[in-house]
Symmetry: C2
Subunit: 196 residues, 2 copies
């Protein structure tokens, strides 16, 4: 991410530590018990911080959750791009990007955070903004690069929803192979293999 430049002032270091402790504690508890069933007293207890510190760094409990989700989204996007970078062509990039996505979404609790609680707590618009800046954006560019015609933005959005549902299904114990196969089939249907 960002290296701890040694010339940071003590206040900046303190703030970063507190913020990080809060994000970390909140991530763990939100992932385990859900956003609604986790109270701020429990979060600050786990972070070894007071509620005052929380409300100094974040507007409210939802803002803290937003911080958690943004960090998760950034991690997922990084893993997708890392996978896609190893691709040989645009269609291969889609397939490899999909692998990267599923690998990233296998992180414990991530499905609950990003796909279950985030839409309700942050609202669909805020979430789509985060998505566009991370996973959704690369998917759309991937479709365009693969030469898909038609309403590419809408197609990318729908395909993104299918990805999410697949990750959700796998996380809740469904047959992972079947869902990966189904996703592959969708990609093939939209971006014909013979095109690459």
């Amino acid at each position: 991410m960002q290296n701890k430049s040694p010339d940071r002032t003590p206040n900046e270091i303190r703030s970063a530590r507190t913020r990080s402790a809060l994000i970390g504690a909140a991530r763990a508890l939100f992932a385990e018990k859900g956003f609604a069933d986790t109270g701020t007293p429990e979060i600050v207890r786990r972070a070894s911080v007071t509620r005052g510190a929380l409300y100094h760094h974040f507007d409210d409990k939802t803002a803290l959750f937003r911080g958690v989700v943004e960090a998760e989204a950034a991690a997922v996007a990084a893993e997708i791009e890392a996978s896609a970078r190893r691709a040989v062509g645009p269609r291969d990039a889609l397939v490899r990007g999909a692998d990267g996505y599923f690998g990233a979404m296998a992180a414990p609790g991530r499905v609950r955070l990003m796909l279950i609680d985030a839409p309700a707590a942050l609202g669909p618009d805020a979430l789509s903004v985060i998505d566009a800046a991370t996973g959704g954006g690369v998917l759309r560019r991937g479709l365009e690069a693969a030469g898909v015609d038609g309403p590419v933005a809408a197609l990318a959005d729908l395909l993104s929803a299918a990805f999410d549902r697949a990750a959700l299904a796998i996380a809740t114990g469904a047959d992972a192979a079947a869902y990966r196969d189904a996703i592959r089939r969708m990609i093939d249907a939209l971006a014909p293999p013979d095109r690459t």
Copy 2:
């Protein structure tokens, strides 16, 4: 729905009235302000009922919400089946069913209730049960009837997710035509038109 058979006992009538008033008031408020931001005092005020009556009929606030969502899901399923019934073949049934779905999801607040708040409040498993008994089930049978091979259950699930995302996008002001076109394209890709 169900005709008021004249031989119902007064208690049954009273209970049904109270339940109905609660479901109706809750539906309106949950749709407008969301599940988390609606308190039970406000619900019972609108329903002209006391909180005691609420907790007599429902285990908790979440159970009331489940009642609302189940009613919504039943209404959506009914509209889908009504549309699909007019189809001439299995593939046409998919397309007409899609129209029915989008028509049903245009009901004010329904997207928020079913696609935003329900997953977080009821949990994905409870929601998938409701979905399987309503929209998801007909979609899967539709794909099977259309002769789709492969992991049909997974494909139906992913396609269902795409439908949901399209309804969400349209409800939040996206280009409806583009999303309907994208859905049509997905159906065409999975169930080739020449097959019918």
